[in-house]
Point group: C3
Chain length 172, copies 3
């Protein structure tokens, strides 16, 4: 792959990755999807810093400026508790989730943090049923560098449907 020449301005110049490496950011999202879909919640939680916020909400709430959320966790500890509750009480039919994350874009960055957006699609397969679209929407995230690699300090999953899918018991 050729380096862009100075004569040919490129999209990249307009894109505020700053000191962040695009490929590492994409790897973070790949880890996110893969650990979540494998129900490897320990590894998934490791992708958040201790004081991370995690929110799942409807687009309508965001657009109206309403502070409503389907899930709201103000720390990694709260998120871990929520996952514990989920794993412990999951006596209903087994659900397999499969995330597809694309259009990962930098929105703003400085030395300490990178804001990104991305599209997500969650396809769910419930025991004995066909696979189907569970939800679709976008992420609005903040990523920070840590000694262990890139991590989420804020993650907001905004689903497009107005109604809360009854099956949003797993994180998006």
């Amino acid at each position: 792959v050729n380096a862009p020449t100075s004569e040919r301005p490129t999209l990249r110049a307009r894109v505020p990755w700053g000191t962040f490496v695009a490929d590492e950011v994409r790897t973070l999202y790949e880890e996110y999807a893969a650990t979540l879909d494998a129900a490897d919640y320990g590894a998934w939680l490791d992708l958040f810093v201790d004081d991370a916020t995690y929110i799942v909400t409807a687009r309508e709430n965001v657009e109206r400026g309403l502070p409503l959320a389907t899930i709201r966790c103000d720390s990694k500890g709260m998120l871990a508790d929520r996952i514990d509750a989920l794993v412990t009480t999951q006596f209903h039919a087994r659900r397999l989730g499969r995330h597809f994350v694309t259009a990962i874009r930098p929105v703003a960055s400085n030395e300490m943090a990178l804001e990104t957006t991305a599209n997500f699609l969650l396809v769910e397969t419930i025991d004995g049923e066909d696979s189907r679209v569970q939800s679709v929407g976008s992420y609005a995230d903040v990523i920070v560098p840590t000694a262990a690699g890139l991590r989420f300090v804020a993650k907001c999953a905004i689903y497009d449907a107005a109604l809360v899918p009854t099956s949003v018991v797993v994180p998006l």
Copy 2:
């Protein structure tokens, strides 16, 4: 990431990116999906050159060599008019679209232009309904370098379904 050694021929050598940078091309598609899904039509139009052609058609038409198209715009101006009409007349239930573009591949290139293909999935959420697959298909595009970055000079969105989805009022 390691550079390929001369002993090990690589796929990349077979791939005609030419003087185009793969990562910049992917960024162009990410911008395309993100601006369209955000209904940021001004930024979306900016991804086309002035004399760009934009076509939405069914695969069956392409395979039969028929010149039929659901949308056909021969310039960015025509495309802007179409978008204006869309925004102005959209009195029906609100639709949110979410694009997933993968398998972005170079087909041919020279110094002036790059031909690409890609797969697209559009998941749509209509007010009060579940999110569902609106359409799926492939892009056949031509990309050119400009002073402002990579831009589409031709975009053809080919949907796989034989029938025109009644909801193809937004661009693909």
Copy 3:
């Protein structure tokens, strides 16, 4: 894009791409999806080495350690025969497939081979019907370098649904 500094450990350091180049691996998957969706089975078969194994199975079988498989081919020759049979006997309604492969991750690697996992979504469009999710699941693959580029020596497509979709006549 900036190179990571030595002070900032990165995710990449934890990821066992080894001597394999991430971008080449992604290109292999893009070729896989594009050739399969275009029904260009010759080019698709070329992505496998001669003694490649190709398996399609349900997640339930993998988790229970059952050796059951919907499709099992122990060589590229067997896979070619299967494709021949598929193309020859396809007298039913035409099916168009569209693959979306994301979350491509290295699991392990040495000089000779790379193990990867990825998520796949197959959206199918049958003549006269709407496009719909045909199957979703994950790949567990082994990739090797060859004189012709990266190739699959083992590919296992694991679909999440418990029941075999009646339409799994095409490869995943």
